[in-house]
Symmetry: C2
Subunit: 265 residues, 2 copies
């Protein structure tokens, strides 16, 4: 199907996807040989396809000649239903929660086996955390992850519970039996807690955002320093924000994006 | 080069790019025939390539069977240098300006002939504006656009001045001569103003963010209701934030994105 030097059976679109996927890791720019290594594709193939992605604007070249994600990809991605509609609706609630708490406020969606951070507002002095916008947190070790998991279908829950539950700190729940009990407790009380289970020194409280009949399952959380207050300190405010966002999502669809039309070109 | 039913000479990557580009417009989801019309590609080609993009996660299907931008694209795009590094560095300054003003605070970059909005923080009661994150504003009619244009190379400025300058309100500057004088004034005083030139009822003040030796040209603005105060009311704070972000950008590169590694899978 393809040349002797190529990964057999891959289409050009699949190869372009593999090149873009290489940027989902922890580095902002990658060289041609980095991309060849990450994708398993020959340098000549990467060079040709990455060049076409640069022509389009999905990738850009740095001054060093490396490749980096282009602003065109970001612009299109900002139209993603799960980031755009959810984010636009949730932002006033996130800011309200931030004004109240002056801690980290996070918005995440369930994606595969992770919580994907859609938005994060942080005070300059807030406790160190590892989550970043566009980054992922494990479902079993973060409050936002446990809120998402507790609101998911039994099939999704069992799929995660069947995996190896990695320990990030000595407090991470690594037993499926203990985690299953914790998820039941999360559903009962309506919010999830994490007590230094993801990062030493950080505790958090998260509420699910679920809208009957809509596919988006999201969660909102506040992350604060351990020892300053119990993890559930802000739970009424977090739950209130979660209900508010869910109600707003169920009542209106976001406005169409009109600004792209404005320049008239 | 390709079949008789295809746009001649387009590679598969170019066709996939055209399909993704169709989502940069004003609609969040598009049908197969919408995509065929927007790209000029036959339905069969769109169906095949869009299907591969769905398999990857760059597109998703809605419950209606339409196509929409997938969360995978958003996740990769969050690594864009121009959104990620700039946004992470600028956020504390944006929040500071928002706390001070309680108006819209915007962060934009120059992209082609437009200002592309990277971030926006809005108070619930703030004046109605048309800019959204991922949306575009014209360079000649918005404060953020005029700040970007005034800081651009003479070649970029002349390219924009040579275009037709569309009127969005009766106050929009549509004369190249007047706009050239305004850009000189913007450089002299260090900030740009827009007085109901983009939206009736909204005035704004913007400062450029420029770092010698770096490619990013960005600008920060405050948008507030006309009549409440003169457009330059917040200019010292906006300029201070612009200088602060530029200094922070020149001093450090953003941390690598570590969270993608966390789940260990």
């Amino acid at each position: 199907m393809s040349g002797n030097n190529e990964v057999p059976g891959r289409t050009v679109v699949a190869k372009a996807s593999m090149i873009l996927d290489a940027f989902a890791g922890n580095r902002v720019s990658l060289s041609l040989s980095d991309l060849s290594r990450a994708t398993g594709l020959p340098s000549s193939t990467v060079h040709r396809i990455a060049g076409e992605l640069v022509d389009w604007g999905g990738l850009e070249r740095t001054s060093d000649g490396d490749y980096t994600v282009g602003i065109r990809l970001w612009e299109i991605a900002a139209r993603s239903r799960r980031s755009y509609g959810l984010r636009e609706t949730a932002m006033p609630f996130l800011h309200g929660l931030f004004d109240l708490t002056r801690q980290h406020v996070q918005l995440a969606v369930l994606d595969g086996a992770d919580a994907l951070l859609i938005e994060k507002i942080s005070a300059a002095h807030a406790v160190g955390t590892i989550g970043r916008v566009g980054g992922r947190l494990p479902l079993h070790a973060s409050a936002v992850g446990k809120a998402l998991l507790a609101s998911s279908s039994p099939e999704v829950q069992e799929r995660i519970l069947a995996r190896q539950l990695l320990a990030y700190t000595p407090s991470t729940l690594t037993s499926a039996r203990v985690l299953r009990r914790e998820l039941a407790e999360t559903r009962r009380r309506g919010f999830a807690l994490a007590n230094e289970e993801m990062s030493i020194g950080a505790v958090s409280c998260a509420a699910p955002i679920t809208v009957p009949g809509q596919e988006v399952v999201a969660a909102i959380s506040v992350v604060m320093p351990a020892g300053e207050a119990p993890p559930h300190k802000w739970s009424p405010a977090v739950c209130g924000a979660g209900f508010g966002i869910a109600r707003a999502l169920s009542q209106h669809q976001p406005q169409p994006l009109i600004s792209a039309q404005l320049t008239g070109t």
